[in-house]
Amino acid sequence: MPEIALKVENLSKHFIIRNNAFSKKKIIKAVEKINFEVATGESLGLIGESGSGKTTVANLLVKLLEPSEGTIRLFGKDITHLSEESMRPYRCDIQIIFQYSQAMLDPKMTINELLREPLEIHQVVSQHQIDDEVNRLLKMVGLSETEKAKFPSQLSGGQNQRILIARAIATRAKVIICDEPVSSLDVSIQGQILNLLMRLKQELDLTYIFISHDLNVVKHMCHRIAVMYQGEIIEIGPTEKVLSNPQHQYTQKLIHALL
């Protein structure tokens, strides 16, 4: 029985919206009491339409947002209410890759600096090994050392996505949350990134939580999928089973909507 990498119980996030200072408060339940667990080495796909709460879940898992309710356990350790300071060591284990790689990288930092940053913050390797480590990371994600002096704006979308992936694996992360990692890329580049993610998963025994609205991509990448609708997980199960025999009405609609 493989170890449970991530376990989420009754996780909720409510936002309070006020149109103006005098109007009544309105509570938006972005995520409502969701439960799931992911074993090490497994990849779980999270699908659902925009506004269904997929990205909110991603942000909750890496604690970019404070949950309203529920618990998140990372390798058995409850990280739900850890302070910024005490969360830091756990951030090495769980990393996130965002959709718009260009926007996520500091435009004034070179690729070298961008890759050094996580290594220095988390003190992954000793100071004199950092240069070698940067080269190793570049090689792992299929980039050459000549890119080191460049800025993100000088690289293509696919190359920037590779840099984001390199930053995520730099801290020896075991769980990586991929929030639409390929949806802004061209068809010919998409495959390259998916193959890279697959290869890294095998080499480093990674656990993925894969958020995408492209069912073909999810089908390719994930063992299990969870379908989100209006903040709740309405269906979860092995990919083949969910796609071939969807139980919930919404899942049926979603699969039917595929071109």
């Binding site: 506004g51 293509s156 998916l194 390719h220 595929l258």
Partner: protein, 319 residues
């Protein structure tokens, strides 16, 4: 034939970058009949958006059109003054931008942004007209959305607002720049169906810019494939998918199919597309082409017409 709505010939566009002029679009031709849907497919940097925005002259001072003609309804748009252009822009030709959330004004409520389109073009406006358009594009709570700001809506909803803004003035031509790229699978079909419905009901011709093969196949009748600032292949959608002529098209279709078929290793095209700075006087696909010949580097291949189709590859050039 009087049915011709838009005819673009040999369009070349340059950008002024770091004290020199760089040509990003090196040859763009397009002919579009009334009520037709044409898709432009290409990777990022292939010049599809630049070509399309030039139809509306939405250029800034760093961009210039070097040569070519854009004939819309019998008028050469490139000869019009800015004032004359304003009568066409948004009124006869609408543009739906790619990233809806940043293309909408964050300070204005949805209702006002839509009313503004009508008011600016001196068309009759009322809340009911706006609500009808919102319902038409599938915004369920039209009344509530009318009083909301763009940031309060999701990406998919903002995309529909953009479409609403594009169709509210009932133009002859709608240019949709990647309208489905930021929304999810369940909505993609809805948006494409919506565009189809608009095309049939309001008789709008549509230029659909995308990098999504499936979407293009679903929506378009004709397809233009761009690479490296050039149109590489042009023809009916079904014919292109049944028998791609250009090696690039062939590879692209292989890539797209590989993912759908569930191959363990996705088929990919190695390397990246050349950026305008790397453009040379040769076939832009040369570095990734598996069928390249020494002749490929002797200059940009010419467009060859083969029946109803056109292709830019030396394989088909008659010697």
């Amino acid at each position: 034939m009087d049915n011709r709505l838009l005819e673009i010939n040999n369009l070349k566009i340059s950008f002024y970058h770091q004290h020199r002029s760089i040509q990003v679009v090196r040859g763009f031709d397009l002919s579009l009949n009334n009520r037709e849907i044409v898709g432009i497919i290409g990777e990022s940097g292939s010049g599809k958006t630049v070509s399309a925005t030039s139809i509306l002259k939405l250029e800034d001072e760093t961009q210039s059109i070097d040569s070519g003609t854009i004939i819309f309804n019998g008028i050469n748009l490139l000869e019009l003054s800015e004032k004359e252009y304003q009568k066409i822009r948004g009124n006869q030709i609408s543009y739906i931008f790619q990233n809806a959330s940043s293309a909408l004004n964050p300070y204005k409520k949805i209702g006002l942004q839509l009313t503004e389109v009508l008011r600016n073009h001196k068309l009759p406006f009322s809340k009911n007209i706006v609500l009808d358009v919102l319902k038409e594009v599938g915004i369920e709570e039209a009344d509530t959305s009318y009083d909301m700001y763009p940031f309060q809506l999701s990406g998919g909803q903002n995309q529909r607002i953009m479409i609403a803004q594009g169709i509210i003035s009932k133009p002859d031509l709608l240019i949709a720049d990647e309208p489905t790229s930021s929304i999810d699978a369940s909505l993609k079909r809805t948006v494409l169906d919506l565009l189809k419905k608009i095309n049939q009901k309001s008789h709008m011709a549509i230029i659909f810019i995308t990098h999504d093969f499936e979407a293009a196949k679903y929506l378009c009748e004709k397809l233009i494939i761009m690479y490296g600032g050039l149109v590489m292949e042009e023809g009916e959608v079904n014919e292109i998918f049944a028998k791609p002529l250009h090696p690039y098209t062939e590879e692209l279709i292989k890539c797209a199919n590989s993912l759908t078929q569930g191959d363990l290793n996705v088929y990919t095209l190695e390397g990246t597309a050349p950026t305008p700075l790397q453009f040379k006087e040769e076939c832009p696909f040369i570095s990734r082409c598996k069928m390249k010949l020494p002749e490929c580097s002797f200059g940009i291949p010419k467009m060859t017409t083969l029946g109803t189709r056109k292709v830019r590859c030396i394989k088909y050039e008659t010697r």
